[in-house]
């Protein structure tokens, strides 16, 4: 692999700078967030590089568990930040974290124990990148689905209540919205699997090939990752949507929009 020098990165940064200046000229209003995002990605990735180096040198289960907890906390916060209408109280943060924990963590453990069989099973070279990819994708899916779900409940409250009045159960009255929001969260990974290799070369595989792995080995890992991400995202979304549905209705099959609060700007 040809190593990249800080100068090489600086040259690439000039491209982002040019883009920023162009959007400033065109008054697109994204220049500031573009620069902040570029700086964040640099700092965060350099830091995680250092953390991973430290992790690889020590291989300590508690240390890895600590990092995983931080990753989950940040992902949960991100899910919350993307909701226009949130649940009040502990449900707001709990919903995302519980559903991501159940799906991402159990699928990562499953992959480490049953499929990859790394020694020790928590070997950070496998555990942390796997968990990261699963969490990242599940986070996107869960936040999209939850936003759709609460938005749908709010916007279609008259329809839901009309169906309840006519004797529908909460599940019957809410089925369409639930299906739509699960689909909205799943569509990204389904599209990614559909066009993988034809249109887009997935980032992990590309990285492995550049780093010198044989292409077929990289491809096998990528397929594994795709399957893990699809199931992690899917189960995470289904868990989140089921919990949220449970919260949006009470035991007398009433729509309870009072469990939601609107995000203040």
């Amino acid at each position: 692999m040809i190593p990249i020098t800080p100068w090489d990165l600086a040259i690439a940064a000039v491209l982002v700078l040019l883009l920023g200046l162009t959007s400033l000229r065109l008054q697109l209003g994204i220049t500031q967030s573009l620069f902040i995002a570029a700086i964040r990605t640099t700092v965060q990735l350099l830091l995680i590089g250092l953390v991973l180096k430290l992790l690889f040198d020590t291989v300590n289960l508690y240390f890895i568990a600590g990092i995983a907890t931080i990753m989950l906390a940040v992902a949960s916060r991100e899910v919350l930040a993307r909701q226009q209408r949130r649940f009040s109280g502990w449900w707001s943060i709990g919903l995302g974290s519980v559903s991501m924990f159940i799906s991402s963590f159990s699928i990562t453990l499953f992959a480490l124990w049953v499929i990859i069989g790394s020694e020790p099973w928590y070997s950070p070279q496998y555990a942390i990148p796997l968990l990261g990819m699963l969490l990242g994708n599940t986070m996107n899916g869960v936040s999209l689905s939850l936003d759709r779900l609460t938005h749908g409940a709010w916007q279609q409250r008259d329809i839901i209540e009309q169906r309840l009045m006519l004797g529908a159960t909460r599940n019957e009255a809410f089925l369409d919205i639930r299906k739509q929001s699960i689909r909205a969260g799943m569509i990204h990974i389904i599209n990614a699997m559909t066009t993988a290799g034809l249109v887009n070369l997935p980032g992990m595989m590309t990285g492995q090939i550049i780093a010198g792995s044989p292409p077929v080995e990289a491809v096998k890992y990528q397929i594994l990752i795709m399957f893990l991400i699809a199931s992690g995202t899917g189960f995470g979304i289904i868990t989140a949507v089921t919990l949220a549905t449970h919260r949006l209705f009470d035991e007398r099959h009433r729509l309870r929009l009072d469990t939601l609060t609107v995000k203040s700007k």
């Binding site: 329809i159 009309q162 009045m165 004797g167 529908a168 369409d176 007398r252 099959h253 009433r254």
Partner: protein, 202 residues
Amino acid sequence: MATLSIHKLRFQQRGPFSLRIESEQSVSLTGPSGAGKSLLLRAIADLDPHQGDCAIDDQTCSGMPAPQWRRFVGLLPAKNVWWFDTVGEHFDNHEQPWLANLGFDTDVMRWTVSRLSTGEQQRLALLRLLQNQPQVLLLDEPTASLDAENTQRVEQLIAEYQAAQHCPILWVTHDPEQATRIARRHLAIKDNQLRETGSHSL
């Protein structure tokens, strides 16, 4: 044969309201807007959290699953909503016995909902409700956007349904003339009290 009894119903800082409507009795309900007429109907249909209980004969609302209760007490809201594209999809069966009573033929089942006028929606919403064969009717201004002819059709149909099913009816109306046409017992919500405003026995 069914009797609706409402026992100390409280909701959203309103009430307690108690009321008993006998089998085949119609009761009109009036009151200034914001007095809680629609909220009372919603609470009876168990759509909002409340204290107190309702019962049809000796079957209480709290003693059965809410969807079952809502099939027994048919609530016709002031604003009716449709969710499928065509009218027919909202009905189990396209051969609805009372279509002609309200001035429709079976062709209406193929109409798209977006094509319906407010008045047509209101009449069809009544038919949609009646297919559950409710034992009690809670009607929230069911003729609000209807002309005289269709108002008469709706009043006639509800009277026929009541005669066949012997159901109690609680009917919200703003029209005093309609109130005297459809009911002999009249109630009003005023200052958080449910008051009889004139009751004539048969």
